[in-house]
Symmetry: C2
Subunit: 259 residues, 2 copies
DNA sequence: CGGCACGTGTGACGGAAATCACACGAATGT
DNA sequence: ACATTCGTGTGATTTCCGTCACACGTGCCG
């Protein structure tokens, strides 16, 4: 497809992706008011008064985006926030030479573009739809105005920002606080299952990321991730059936980084 | 000094420090109301009404802490936030085996402990005074109550959280988006001078961090940082006079990672 | 004054992981 | 039915940087 001949091939593929998608940007068809959005509002802006909720609805507009669409691009001026109703969004940062890191994968009910919109600085990351998604867009200015008028919502926003911070903090831990590549991957897999079943020795999770994406999340090369997966399987620590990850030996996996 | 014989020597020194300081924790002498704190409040919670400011004063208490004191420790339940009036505070995270990463260095006027206090989760990092400091402590519950009552303050808090997020995001870039160690350090030094003089080819900054600390910020070993500093000096890219860093050849330093 | 802790400088060495270079199957589109 | 792209597996090779091992200066404190 190669729209821009100026870009070198091979490892610069995401830059190409970026430029390709920039040609058919946002502003896709507006489908419905966010009132009909399947996402329950109160998951997000819970405890808001009826009045506040209506105010929010008034300024937000829902749209769908195809897989691969970029909600916004790193460095772009913040236009507003996106509340994801449906599907997953990849938030990543990339350097001039084509490397990139995934900061987090936002799922239904999460908000992207918030820090930039609050601080008024440009978006720091690029948001790409991993699947066809539906999202509510709330333009920056009305949103800020809304927050000023509804203190309860502002507090809720602070909480959400704390969560976003926490995800980024996790990222720092992956990248900075791990000796071996093995340890990074083991930690990552264990964190995936953190939410669910706790103390059992065999855990389950759904892993919808490619090795390449995992590599970008924990700071490894794709090949290393592939090799480590093979290792783990060989050692009977994990099993993979399609997109289902099964940690068959949690204890063994934890032992990996206990020196 | 070695209070705890159970701890192995050498590279586990920060753990030792942690434990030593935990024996003489917080609650040092309360010196003065935050009204007399040298820090101008409006730098932090600007635009707040007189009423709101008084409310803040009512719930905050000022204290001083000696160098090396820990305001809080990673994993501890969040008790509240600290507004630094004076001095610098190192925020770091560490892994079980003694490695540690510095997430940011907070200076006068900044807030630490905010994300944990907002979200109700434990502090994610350890806050250590790099120098004797003076700080206002605001307990969690009254602070949250205050935010609920003063929407303007909540919005301000969201802005501060965005800044904190941004610092952490930078950290991710250092750790994840840099090929060589050389590139990491060059980027770090250039970022130090970002605030000041822009397009000149020779820049100045004050560098009050040890090589060890720099290493912990950008994910290198102390030795590598030392070697790179020597390199840069040899190549006439930088000069160091005491704690003054002079970038003599900004262009050259940037060229380091433009390949 | 000695010690001692700390920050720093540098050499040698080894290993872990990136890189390069393939191959293979499955999905996708034409 | 074909080509093409994408995700994956795996070997061989190389290189960067962490680790270990020292040495030196400086400031501090008993």
């Amino acid at each position: 497809m190669m729209v821009a001949g100026a870009i070198a091939p091979s490892k610069k593929w995401h830059i190409i992706r970026m430029q390709r998608s920039m040609k058919t940007p946002y502003g896709l068809q507006v489908i419905e008011s966010c009132l009909t959005c399947p996402l329950k509002k109160d998951e997000l802006f819970c405890d808001l008064s009826q009045h506040a909720m209506e105010g929010l609805d008034a300024i937000s507009s829902s749209a769908t985006y195809p897989k691969g669409a970029l909600l916004f691009v790193e460095g772009q001026d913040s236009r507003g926030i996106f509340v994801i109703c449906n599907g997953r969004v990849k938030l990543s940062a990339s350097s001039a030479d084509g490397k990139s890191v995934i900061l987090r994968i936002a799922e239904s009910g999460e908000v992207v573009g918030l820090p930039g919109s609050i601080s008024g600085k440009p978006y720091e990351v690029t948001a790409e739809a991993l699947e066809p998604i539906q999202a509510n867009f709330i333009p920056r200015e009305p949103f800020l105005q809304f927050l000023r008028e509804h203190g309860e919502a502002a507090v809720r926003v602070a909480e959400i920002l704390s969560d976003i911070y926490h995800a980024t903090y996790q990222e720092v831990r992956y990248l900075g606080l791990s000796g071996s590549a093995t340890e990074k991957l083991a930690r990552f897999l264990l964190d995936l299952t953190l939410a669910e079943g706790t103390d059992k020795n065999t855990l389950r999770a759904t892993l919808t990321l490619t090795h390449e994406e995992i590599a970008e999340m924990i700071g490894l090369s794709r090949e290393t991730v592939s090799r480590l997966f093979a290792n783990f399987k060989r050692k009977k620590l994990i099993e993979i059936h399609g997109s289902a990850l099964v940690i068959t030996d949690k204890a063994g996996l934890e032992k990996v980084f206990e020196v």
